[in-house]
C-alpha cells in the first residue's frame, strides 16, 4: 500500500510538472479571464477527469481495493455554509498566489523560498481550521 502511494505520488507530480500546473504564473494566467487568458488548466482538469470518472464509476462497487480492506470515500452530501465558505476562502488564497495544495508541495522540487513560505502558512491555516468546531 505504501509502495503504491509512492508510485501514485510520482505520477501525480510528473503530471503537475508536464502540464505546467506546478508553476503559479501559469495557473494565474488561467484564472485571469479578462487578461491574456491561458486555458491550459481547463484541459488539464478535463483530461484528469476521464480516468477519474471511469475509476469512480466502476471500482467502488468491487468488494475491496487491491491492497486495502475497503474503499474510503467521502460520505458527506450536504451543501452547507462550511462547504461554500471554505471553498470561497480557498479560492481567494488560490487567486492571490496561484498555488493550491498539490502544486504548493510539488513546487518544493524547485527549491524556492517563496514556495516554502507559502507551504508553512498553508500548514498554519490547516492548524487554524482545527480550532473551528466540526459540523455536527
Amino acid at each position: 500500500m505504501v509502495a503504491m502511494s509512492m508510485i501514485c505520488g510520482v505520477i501525480f507530480g510528473l503530471g503537475l510538472a508536464i502540464s505546467g500546473m506546478v508553476n503559479p504564473a501559469k495557473v494565474l494566467a488561467f484564472l485571469d479571464v479578462a487578461g491574456d487568458w491561458d486555458p491550459s488548466l481547463a484541459l488539464v482538469m478535463g483530461a484528469a477527469l476521464v480516468p477519474s470518472f471511469v475509476a469512480f464509476r466502476w471500482l467502488p462497487s468491487r468488494p475491496r481495493p487491491w491492497l486495502a480492506d475497503r474503499f474510503e470515500l467521502p460520505a458527506a452530501t450536504v451543501i452547507d455554509g462550511r462547504l461554500l465558505g471554505g471553498a470561497a476562502l480557498f479560492g481567494i488564497g488560490w487567486g492571490l498566489v496561484g498555488l493550491c495544495p498539490g502544486p504548493a508541495i510539488a513546487a518544493l522540487a524547485y527549491l524556492k523560498i517563496e514556495s516554502l513560505i507559502f507551504l508553512a502558512a498553508l500548514v498554519g491555516g490547516i492548524g487554524l481550521a482545527r480550532l473551528v468546531p466540526p459540523a455536527s
Binding site: G13, V22, S40, C100, V123
Partner: protein, 142 residues
Amino acid sequence: MTGFTPVDALIGGGLIGLAVALLLAANGRVTGISGIVGGLIRPDKQGTAWRWVFLTGLVAGVALYRLAGGPLTDIEITTSPGILIAGGVLVGFGTQIGAGCTSGHGVCGIGRLSPRSMVATMVFMATAAIVVFAVRHGLGGG
C-alpha cells in the same frame, strides 16, 4: 506570461487522472491533496505513512521531471511575502473547512459526480478569478 499548451496539458492531466485511478484501485483512497495533508494532523487507522510517502512522491515526480531535462526549468512566484502568507493561510484554512481542493473536489469529486464537489469547484474557481481580476485589472492596475 504563459501561453496555451494543449498537448502538455492533456498529457499532464491524463497522468494526474491515472494517479487518481490507481490510488483508488490499489488503496481505496481519494487523491485529495488537502485531505492527505490534513490527515497528517488527524491520523486514522491506516496511519500517516502512506500520506508522507505520497507527498514525498509528489516532490520526487517533479524532481525526476527536472532531472530528465523537462522544459519547465523554473517557476515564477511574484507575490510579496505578506500576500504569500495570507494566501497560504487562506488555502490551508479554506480547504480544511470546505473539505477539499482542486484535486479532491475538482478531479475526484467531479469524477464521482458529487454535487457537493461540483458546487465547491465552481465557488473556488469563481472567487479565485474575481481575486485575480481585482489584483490585475480592478485596483487601479492594468
